[in-house]
């Protein structure tokens, strides 16, 4: 809230392209937006920041006509507009480029850009030459380096994104909304994207740029608006602020309150010993501190990693922090045998773990709770029991025949230990809540205890109660001597769970910090943001 109005007043008397005033939105009992303001000037890149759940996505959905808003007003070029449907929003000149691209990969760039509005002959045939000519003219006019004849599937990701932006720009666009456009891009590709954004703004289009990456804000935007808990937490002129101030606005005073809540809630929701919550290296690790590392990665490189060094002790919870695309998930996947190693070695209990497929890693006592439980963790159409026995079939069988009673017993015990809420083990997993589904994924690895437990975003899409229970499960595993590696975008979660945290950037580990060295999420936030090599040369 430090320097909100100054910039808008000082910069120029131009009419904003879009002005959002006091917009509120309630979903059921949840107040997603509590009266937010945002304005974008012609030719401006306006960054929109905030943590997950701060209200960014809700506002974007309102601007694109997917949701309606409850109170407040939205003006386009000084005229009040009702954003009732995506079509109306598009008509008003607002175009959104989403994270998941909406291109037909097998068609050419030109065909994609003109999809649904192809020039036709009277008989309904496409006038191919005219189509390409129109597209070429458009690309030339906007100075965008795309070949309209190339099929989309052959393009690198950045150019696909550029195609998507062009698609949004065809027609009369005043405001372009980019939702995390760089999350899947490499450094070089980012530059291509940024150049395209600059070309667009030079023509007077306003851009709302949603991102989690602060260094991008400094490279591309003129102003920044920060949302926190569904309200404005500050507006800044990019040139007059710095990363520290932005982080403070994003995180807010909440982290102090969080800390307090954690201390009081200790041991209530979980079945762990009181105080386990606040354990530090000094409190819990000592019983295993003298042990040799369970897991050692030495200079591990492959297509996504470049020289990862990591060592995790028995009973240690080791966090991997970093931005999406930094290589956090890939470290876990490489250990688990999902990605081949080109160089370096992975040792488990002092012996090389040369896992060529997950089955090899599982046999050695490695377990993975993957990022996407629907896609990677569960067979949704099958029962809890079937899902639970899947990774333990070798132990639950004799001579190839399933030991039905042992499997049923194992399922019942695991469900009880993790308090999975379901009528019984024959319930289909698709009928469970997100939290209970995630507990089933954890329960797959419940018995026998793995030596090494790899967790990728263990509490994503899980309600608060189940989250506490899952933390309890992780603590229990560590207390029993399992080495745990956690990847998470939730920094509170990392600070709460981990004995040590490694910062991952560009496929390698930048640095490792002991738990005691970091007190607030804010500090961790800084470490992550600073770890990314800034490409100031690009600007």
């Amino acid at each position: 809230m430090s320097e909100p109005v100054a910039v808008a007043a000082a910069s120029s008397p131009r009419v904003p392209l879009i002005r959002v005033t006091g917009v509120t939105k309630k979903f059921g009992g949840v107040q997603a937006l509590r009266g937010v303001n945002l304005e974008v000037l012609p030719g401006e890149v306006h960054a929109l920041l905030g943590e997950n759940g701060a209200g960014k996505s809700t506002l974007i959905k309102i601007l694109s006509g997917v949701h309606t808003y409850d109170e407040g007003s939205i003006e386009i070029a000084g005229r009040k507009v009702a954003f009732e449907s995506p079509a109306k929003s598009r008509e008003a000149g607002v175009a959104v480029v989403y994270q998941d691209l909406s291109l037909v990969e097998s068609l050419s760039v030109g065909a994609n850009l003109m999809l649904g509005r192809e020039p036709r002959t009277r008989l309904g045939f496409v006038r191919q030459r005219e189509l390409m000519a129109q597209v070429s003219a458009f690309l030339r006019e906007h100075n965008i380096p795309l070949d309209p004849r190339v099929p989309v599937f052959s393009l690198p990701f950045a150019y696909r994104q550029m195609t998507e932006i062009c698609k949004a720009l065809m027609g009369d666009v005043r405001v372009l909304i980019l939702d995390e456009p760089t999350s899947a891009l490499t450094g070089g590709e980012e530059k291509i994207l940024f150049d395209a954004i600059r070309t667009v703004t030079e023509r007077g289009v306003g851009v709302i740029y949603v991102t989690h990456r602060l260094n991008e804000v400094f490279r591309i935007s003129q102003r920044v608006t920060v949302f926190r808990d569904g309200a404005n937490a500050g507006q800044f002129a990019t040139a007059e602020t710095d990363m520290k101030r932005l982080v403070a606005a994003i995180v807010g005073p909440r982290h102090a309150a969080m800390q307090a809540r954690q201390e009081t809630s200790t041991g209530t929701a979980m079945q762990t010993a009181p105080g386990a919550d606040e354990r530090t290296v000094a409190q819990v690790a000592p019983q295993f501190a003298h042990h040799a590392p369970v897991l050692t990665l030495t200079n591990v490189s492959n297509a996504r990693l470049s020289g990862v060094n990591l060592s995790v002790r028995k009973g240690e919870v080791h966090g991997l922090a970093g931005l999406i695309g930094s290589g956090r998930t890939e470290i876990l996947q490489t250990i688990f045998g999902l990605l081949p190693i080109h160089q370096g070695t992975i040792d488990l209990d002092g012996e090389p773990l040369a896992a060529r497929r997950p089955a090899d890693a599982i046999r050695r006592g490695v377990a993975l709770v993957p990022e996407d439980r629907h896609l990677q963790g569960l067979v949704l159409e099958h029962s809890i029991e079937r899902n639970l026995t899947l990774p333990r079939l070798p132990q639950l069988s004799r001579g190839g025949w399933l030991l039905a009673k042992a499997a049923a017993l194992q399922a019942r015990v695991a469900m009880k230990q993790l308090s999975v809420k379901a009528p019984d083990a024959s319930t289909h997993v698709k009928f469970l809540s997100g939290g209970n589904q995630q507990k089933v994924v954890f329960a797959k690895w419940n018995h026998p205890r793995p030596k090494l437990l790899l967790l990728d975003e263990p509490t994503i899409g899980v309600d608060v109660g189940a989250r506490e229970e899952i933390y309890g499960v992780v603590h229990d595993a560590a207390l029993a001597g399992t080495a745990v590696v956690v990847v998470s975008s939730d920094l509170d979660e990392l600070l709460r769970l981990c004995d040590r945290i490694s910062i991952v950037a560009d496929g390698s580990i930048e640095r490792t910090v002991e738990r005691g060295q970091i007190r607030h999420t804010e500090e961790l936030h800084h470490l992550i943001q600073l770890s990314r090599p800034t490409e100031e040369l690009a600007t």
Partner: protein, 325 residues
Amino acid sequence: MPAERQAAQRRGRMGRIAQLLLQGDRPHMLYIAFAILLVVFSFASPWFLSIDNFLNIGRQTALVSIIAIGMTFVIIARQIDLSVGSALALSGMSAALAMSHISDSWIVGAIAGIGTGAIVGAINGLVTTRLSIPSFLVTLGTLSAARGLALMVTTTRPEIITNDRFIAIFGEGDIAGVPVPILWTLLAVIGGILLLHYSVFGRQVYAAGGNPTAALYSGINIRRVTTLAFVLTGALAGLAALVLAARSHAARPDVVQGMELDVIASVTLGGCSLFGGRGFILGTLLGSLIIGTLNNGLVLLGVSSSLQLVIKGVIIVAAVAFTRK
């Protein structure tokens, strides 16, 4: 107390049997459809409701039922096998030739027939999984190639079978009045139930088809499981070839063209999802019996064979639509 426990145990056993009979989404529909069919034909034709006629239906559906057991594994694993008819023809030729050229023993014939089927299945499985080609295309290829090979080996002539034991064991014998083709079908059904519902392999097949990524993340070797499902189907096509060859005292290279459609129809009618992960053996048997009963009943009613095809087609699609959600 003991009485109570006994009752509980009985309930448990009944529960398990019920579970075996009632898997899939709306399995009772399948039983109802079969029952309706039986009632309608009983009223329509005086000859329908006789033991001889039911044995007749069993004999006629044996080939399709046996192969459909294997196809159930393939379809649950989210694959398809179009080559079963050609694999059958090639296996039959191979069995007959082995007996006339290598050794006139029924065992040699059986090994050659089932082995040939298994090899066709292994080729289907390995090409599908190793080269990542959709099994629809791979088996379309083997459908043509295996048929071509079957025609080539004798330059399209049938190969006569004279081994009486072979003929008795696979085609014309009976035990307590039950013809052997039906016994082989029962054996395949029981083996299929054990393998699909009680073995680790069965669990892996369900997982590989239900969600291949989750199965991979759970340490299941999907390539191996998928390949084995194809091998099983091929081997069962080989067994069906033995039954057919023994019944007709000869192996013919041009038999059962288009049979794959009857097999796939039986499996899907029996509650298998073509999207994988769902299905059960008794459902498949029931699907095959429904189609067989339909054929039989329409013949008894004197419906012309052209109209039979049309009615069969409509009923198959209608039944699948009806048994789905």
